[in-house]
Symmetry: C2
Subunit: 65 residues, 2 copies
DNA sequence: TAAAAATGTAAAGTTTTATTTACTTTTAGA
DNA sequence: TCTAAAAGTAAATAAAACTTTACATTTTTA
């Protein structure tokens, strides 16, 4: 699993802390997701995708099959 | 959060056990998701959406804002 | 270049997802 | 209608998401 959170966050010119607050999670959660430390819930993924105006499938990409 | 897993599973004429096996999770996990008992990981959501040939956003719907 | 802001990291603790086992109830087929 | 498959439920456990706190490092900006 890789994701475009860091890039899309940069596009919106938001800090990890700002994004975290917007999404109702901790800054460390954002950091961990950006570093592929974990696999967020679909709810959080949906909220992020909506904020970034991207489909979940483009924001989070499963490596292989 | 609601979801269309039960409906889409019916469209593919699969049992909970078959779907579970296909996705590499337990039958109870499928059951719990169908009953909105929990919020799956984005990875599992992506696998389901791909199997059902639907965007994650259509398979899993956040209730409000 | 010094200070402040942002990011990285880490550890302990909580909550929730997911597994396993087992049993009951419902549904479908012979 | 009897039977078997499927689905519902539940509880104990394991694993992972997420929180909180705290501090170090990097980047930005005054």
């Amino acid at each position: 699993m890789k994701n475009l959170v860091k890039v899309e966050r940069a596009r919106l010119d938001m800090t990890q802390a700002e994004l975290a607050k917007e999404l109702g999670v901790s800054r460390q959660t954002i950091h961990a997701i950006e570093k592929d430390k974990f696999n967020p819930s679909v709810t959080l993924a949906l909220k992020m995708a909506r904020l970034f105006n991207l489909p979940v499938e483009e924001l989070f990409i499963i490596d292989e099959d």
